[in-house]
Symmetry: none
């Protein structure tokens, strides 16, 4: 696994590097936006850690530059205003971590992102339901089921995190790319429709007080 660390502060960059190397990843380092673009192009990366405050080329521009390649990105930023988090997610980042961070937290997030962006099987099958990612189609017992965009994304989030309890916030912010305040029943409605359409009433479990979990044997 190759991870590109884009971070101008060498102390932090070094800390990240040591941590990740110790955990068995290989790392590349860029210390400003220009370097980052070059290094990004010169080599295939499995994941990018991106500091938003960079010299020369802004982190956001870089994110735009990286996004088309579908390489997963974790934003690393000083003190997280919510806006950065949301804006980052909107622009295609996969997760967000605040400096200063605990190394354990960094590793956990990296693993989580890799798990859920990774070779997301193109085809997921369970209980007669087939979800095909590249064609974005879903069938149940051979018959096509029409899912809307939001429903499809939400379903995918659940599938990629099967057997993990996801909070309402995580689900909402990941799918809607907006901050979650929790005062509407929108998420519930979408969950309901997915359950109905796929006959997944007992596959997508409610985790009371937390969120939802897709339970797959």
């Amino acid at each position: 696994m190759n991870i590109l660390i884009i971070e101008d502060d060498r102390t932090i960059s070094g800390l990240m590097g040591r941590t990740l190397t110790g955990a068995g990843y290989e790392c590349g380092f860029a210390y400003d936006g220009e370097e980052a673009e070059e290094l990004f192009d010169s080599h295939p990366w499995d994941l990018v850690l991106l500091d938003l405050m960079l010299p020369k080329v802004s982190g956001y521009d870089l994110l735009e530059y990286i996004a088309p390649s579908k390489t997963p990105v974790i934003i690393v930023s000083a003190m997280g205003q919510v806006n950065d988090r949301i804006r980052g997610l909107k622009m295609g980042a996969d997760d967000y971590i605040c400096k200063p961070f605990q190394v354990a937290e960094l590793l956990a997030r990296i693993e989580a992102v890799i798990r859920r962006t990774a070779p997301a099987e193109d085809v997921f099958e369970y209980r007669g339901v087939v979800v095909n990612n590249s064609s974005r189609t879903v069938t149940k017992d051979g018959e096509e089921v029409a899912l809307t965009v939001k429903e499809f994304d939400l379903l995918n989030m659940l599938i990629n995190n099967r057997n993990v309890a996801l909070s309402r916030r995580q689900l909402y912010e990941y799918v809607w790319k907006e901050e979650y305040f929790g005062e509407t029943r929108t998420l519930d409605n979408h969950i309901k429709r997915i359950r109905q359409k796929l006959g997944y009433e007992d596959v997508i479990k409610t985790v009371f007080g937390i969120g939802y979990r897709m339970e797959v044997a």
Copy 2:
């Protein structure tokens, strides 16, 4: 292990420093809020000891600043500032200690916090009961047992402090994030339900006059 001591009273700060150094920790010192922010950013810390009454930047602001990084925090507050303690816990602190404190107690709390904030095992297993943290599920002899949020959190607190007697106050304030007055039987009831659901009648021991202890071989 690096511990950041944020405390404006140099006498106390010094005492803490000597104690912790003697116990094999490395310490950093900040004497007001501004200094604290800088020092916190400049170096990764494993734990922060935070006095809430600080010059320049309030302890609460600091706590807000620190919280996103998930670095464990122990609040150090003057005797009787109950509200501080609770508000601190609500804001994400992990424990608190009142001045004046016993050196031994300080060390004990630090060890306890480090132990329980350490990458808690995702899965705990004992006597046929399996507690899975990421999916937030519990099974007994293979069958799923439904625990409520409070029950689950309480169980986790006990597990993370296995074989240690925890006071009712600690348990209650940690799980409920409210002050414990001790005039209700709420905690008892939750303990009762956990014991019942998991068949842990003799695993979760009552420590008469103190609280409870989870006894695991």
